[in-house]
Amino acid sequence: MNTLVSAKNVTKIYNKNQVLGLNKVSFDIQSGEFVGIMGASGSGKTTLLNILSTIDTPTDGEILIDGVDIKTLNDNQSADFRKDHLGFIFQEYFLLDSLSVKENIAVPLTLLHKSPEEIDSTINYLAKRFGIFEQLSKYPSQLSGGQKQRVAAARAIAKQPSILFADEPTGALDSHSATELLQKLREVNEELHTTILMVTHDAYAASFSSRILLFKDGNIIKELKRNNQTRKQFFEEILKEISK
């Protein structure tokens, strides 16, 4: 396995009150990993995700993703970088309301100028995989929250990104839908070897990952590895850790 993301001393300072968003954060992510980032709100996890996904820029430090130093990218280059390398899932789904499920999944593929045949076959494959095949011609407003999030996941994975960023993906879901989604994500990680970085404050969601970085006040305070534990054991370990 090779290093996909390498962050060194990443610091983010928000001008006004000198509160540190991130304080010299360093970590690596190997390709094919499923990493969870946990922390309370204000711990810096969303800041980190924004910086990694080139939406925000760090004040200091170095980040390499797939060998690209993302600090050096200008607006257009970072847009292209997101287009070619990154996939996103958000708590609010962020589906395009006027587009059907099928069209929503097709958008990133059209950006990569795939052929219509390839687009259709990719959509069909992923729709079956995520259990939304019956919904392909429906519109987001006709779907349940869980279905919406699975559409968002299919859309994010369709272009086979180097890394998939998931920002509180289960935040708006009921527990059943949340479990379903998390299982799908783990399947994708295990079978398609998609690297996933998931930000969450929920220990249950985090227990689906293979490694967890715990954030507090802009620092990584602890790293937890699942190793050979079952998901349940790992969940217990996480709970124990965060209740400390």
Partner: protein, 656 residues
Amino acid sequence: MVGLLTIAKKNLKNNFSFYSFYFVSVAFVLTVFFSFISFSMNSIVLEKISSDGRVETMSRVVVMFVMAFVLFYMSYSNTFFMKKRTKELGIYSLLGYRKSTMVKLLTLENILICFAALIVGIILGAVAHKGIVGAIVKLLKLQIETSEIPFININAVVFTFIFIFAILAVLLLSNWIILRKSSLLMLVRLDKKEEKQIKINTAFSFIGLLLILFGYFLALDMTRGTQSLWKTIGFSPIALVTMISVVLGTIFFIHSFLPFAIQKLKMRKSWFYNESNIIIIPNFIFKIRSMAKTLILLTLLVSGTLALLGSTVLTLYHPVVATERIIPSAIEFPVEDKQLATEAIKIAEGTAGKENVKHKKTTIIYITSPSNNLPQEYSIKEEPGFDLISESDYKELIRNQGKNVEFENLSENESILVKYRPDKKKLDKGNIYTLNLTPTNSVDIKVKDTTLLNPIGFANSVGTLIISDKLYKEVKSFGLPEKTIISINGTNMRESKEVYENLAPLFKNNNYFSSSYQKVDFLIQQNSSTFLLISFVTIIFFIATGSILYFQNLSNAMSKKDEFTILQRMGYNKKKVKKIISKEVFAIFSIPYVLGLAHSIFAVITYKTALMDDLLGKNSAFILPILFAVIVFTLVYIIYYLLTKQACNKIIFNSK
């Protein structure tokens, strides 16, 4: 109360870019309004340009029209802003503001905007009024001391103030009604309604298309002349059917056919699976139902504006060009008194210089014919018959007029018939007419060709037949009734005011004395006030169309700001997002433009065929003025498009 004023001021300040367009457009509308009211109250000018009260009546009608429009425009934009602000109002409501307090706040904001716009409008309107009066005085050469006209007409100011108060009262009432109807829940539950997926009715969509085509067919049917339904069934019923058919057609077309057609376009995957089309097309189908009302209104506005402008320019331009045929020479008069004729030529030469004047004396011979295939021209005049002119006289006159003769030499029994109206099929060509020389003696003559180049004005000769010099000499010897006409031509003669003015006193009360300068001048005098009034209406239509487009697009952009953020996260760069925005704005602009343009072209064709006497047979005489109107409209439209696009970009890219 102080608190409310502070909130109102802050709101205006914070939403400056949003309100600035509203302010500018209201100020613009009020400028037009005030300048028009000043004009309609300007008795000094009105007395001069209208002798029979026609202009006063027209301007009264236009005032009503303008007032109705200002009211419509203000309440449209007011409601638009209200809807945009439901969320904000909901927050006030949550904070414990009463609805009556909110109405006060809204009214206060309206008063601030309206009065600032009113001041700007009165100043600019006064300047515009001054400019209009100056232009009219110059164009119509009126004897008016412009300094006597006050810069700001107090009556107009009072009237405008009262009118604005009335409008504010209406706005207050409508805001109150909207607020009363809305519950707190509705206010807080965001300003964007869930749009339902549309169901497309294929039958309706084709009915729309067919109704429009049927309307166009009826419009074109007018050109069939006497056989057309407009003549056989009647003008008013067919006009009504055409109108209704096109308006209903437009409604169904926009409501059903457009989404249907776009839905079909989606089937073409290689086209649809494109980074911008995949966003634009579904968005468009999604939005079209909620926009349909606006688009229909816009289409009808565009058709109205263009048809009005096109037909007005046509009405002004066409008779001026047709003067070329009605009075082919610069000056023309029949010789009734030889001395007078000689004196007239002397005066012309004295005014313009001898070398610049070409005068020609022509004698035409009246002759009758017993044939039964006679052309229409034969019977147009008081006593049916032909006017014979000799070939050499004809050629000299035509050359004097600076034109080229269209035919070769005539043989003895050949003739050329001068047509009154153009006849592309040349139905008279090849006819043989018998001309009565004496009650017992006659000669047969063949029509070799027809021409539209009449040598003599229609006041003096209709049904002119050009015959060979030899035959002319022969006919002349029979002593038939004759008429001698003097035609004066020469360099810049047609435009010469001096020559006309020096000659006119000699021919007082002579209806056969004609001058091309005088005719053109008369036409301008007659039509310019109409043109002016129509221009007011057109400008107001322009503002209406442009502003509604602007507001509609802005509102779309605001409701889609989040979607563009998603797109940017997915890897759409700024350029691609801008491309999508400009294509979406373009689509909304182009629908009313294309449909409205088509509607108005058919309307103008009908208008032209029904009400205008075509003497020229030249398409350019119709196409040029219509093209002028279309170009002016298109330019204004493009400016609005660019402004709108820029504003939308600003909304999407300016954070918060």
